[in-house]
Subunit: 245 residues, 3 copies
Amino acid sequence: MTAHPPHRFRSALFAPGNQPEVLKKLPRSHPDLAILDLEDAVPDTQSAKQQAREVAREAAGWLAAHHPEQAVYVRLNAVHSPYFSEDLAALTSELAGVVLPKLERAAELDEALHQLAERGLSHLQVMAGIETVAGVEHAAELLRGPVTSAYFGAEDYVADLGGVRSEAGLEVLYPRSRVAMLCRLAGVAAFDIVVTKLRDEGAFYEDAQLGRSLGYGGKLCIHPAQVGLAHQVFSPSPEEIKRAW
Amino acid sequence: MTAHPPHRFRSALFAPGNQPEVLKKLPRSHPDLAILDLEDAVPDTQSAKQQAREVAREAAGWLAAHHPEQAVYVRLNAVHSPYFSEDLAALTSELAGVVLPKLERAAELDEALHQLAERGLSHLQVMAGIETVAGVEHAAELLRGPVTSAYFGAEDYVADLGGVRSEAGLEVLYPRSRVAMLCRLAGVAAFDIVVTKLRDEGAFYEDAQLGRSLGYGGKLCIHPAQVGLAHQVFSPSPEEIKRAW
Amino acid sequence: MTAHPPHRFRSALFAPGNQPEVLKKLPRSHPDLAILDLEDAVPDTQSAKQQAREVAREAAGWLAAHHPEQAVYVRLNAVHSPYFSEDLAALTSELAGVVLPKLERAAELDEALHQLAERGLSHLQVMAGIETVAGVEHAAELLRGPVTSAYFGAEDYVADLGGVRSEAGLEVLYPRSRVAMLCRLAGVAAFDIVVTKLRDEGAFYEDAQLGRSLGYGGKLCIHPAQVGLAHQVFSPSPEEIKRAW
Ligand SMILES: [Mg+2]
Ligand SMILES: [Mg+2]
Ligand SMILES: [Mg+2]
């Protein structure tokens, strides 16, 4: 059913949906998933969103033609946002999947699935974004077929909570733990939080180790340099592969 | 409906309900809420509680007359305690609110609300005390209208749990995180745990920072010197105010 | 109803069910519970399990005769494993209890209780093993009569989660906190995680302190030297005993 089933979910590299040159470069770092972002990376206006839809649609076509081996997803705006229905026009049948951010209740997921089906896009893989207080609280009802992967978004979660992000990250230990656990229970691949310090390899590496210990299988990446680091951390070692046999 | 709606919930300063001179000094540090405590700060005997009710009632009247700008709450004993019904006699209509400690189930909250209504005190704001294992587990059913604020009480929680309080506080990270999260979900103002080291400004400041990162909007205070510190930590910075606009 | 009600649940010392000499030495370190293990400590084959059943049954008889003061439990294999029904043959009426590992749902517990009843073993105390993602998620339905104690198993939990165990242990802080809390709510004695570093007294002591702060009343032990340390940490101090009166 899936056009480009990614063999693994260790890295999902985002690029702004309104930047055609950046989108075309997504495959260079060989991420397991390349995500054309219509949401957080695009300004919150109708005109900016509309431009991004067109750019992303064209980039998706270009990527399918030139990098057929690259699994490409598009991140739509939230189902309850004023952009969702029109965002669907950016989706092409060559895509591997779609990301539904800020999911909070089963009804939103059902609505999104319904609209995808109406457009003949039921074959797309679905990644669920769990990144609000309500989303974490109701995650169990959001992590179910046809959702095949999910991410926990710490920045948006803490903003919604009214908290503050800290170096140590204790403020997200509970929700981050809980989302990984529920993903496991649902058989859904789990992507760990973004590391916003783009030029700090050590910070990414350390945070990815924590994410892996918590049960995540990969990381959201927002810079190509993060992809290789994610693959290092989330690739099972030869000992682990041996043990599994 | 509310006599003295506090503009903010950054600090709630407690004083023992049986100490008239201390009660009258509550407004000096300008706490967002001043709480006349009939519960933990008063010995667990009928005579001590009765004396405290009378002292607190008189202090409430005095505060309303001399410091009408000060929002004043009274903390009653737990609904399931032998003191609750008689504690209601300490409440005056000039109060801004009432604190219901050690809430554990919806039925207890309903019972308290019923008794408040019977005495014509339905206009009082209600602060819920979440400070037992059962209270944390059932917090979702306790954080709802007319509850407008709540606090997490770490000392009582850990005593009820049969655990031990530690410097690092890892033993309360999960319940402390969860209560803040459920408060946010319910739209209820969240007060963070007491810092018992009265003369350690650094300890209070650090713990308040953690509380803020976890989503709390203010702190329970048990010493006037803690109030100013709480306001420092929980007042949004100019940058944050700008961002919100 | 109980043959050997242990006065306390501070230590539960495991020994491999297939090693008769080790089993007979279990009482030497005076653990509150001695557990003859048919599960993790015995290879995962029918023949090894069968041999262990016979060895454990004989050891149970020997311990009852020579150390009648020692409370002895047998850990069976998981209810949903291919070994469970035959494991019941290893149980003798002199035992104090039985450990049901990797419990995940109420139906499994009910099935185990049913089979115990059929064999006339309803008088045995039951310890529940909570050590999988599903077990933690559904722990509330597993911690109920006749379960009198439970343990959280970090190694198996993290393996099931697909995570990695770390020195700091942040990856189990949430489930470890939650299991202790639910045990308290259910009135069930809670045993904390195994410390696998057998020769590191400091590591055991520190981890036991954390377990105690989280509300655990004792520790699973896998080496006799851990028993005394557990008793040190989990015995209430004279001050605590005084306070309770
Ligand atoms: Mg986001
Ligand atoms: Mg209290
Ligand atoms: Mg185990």
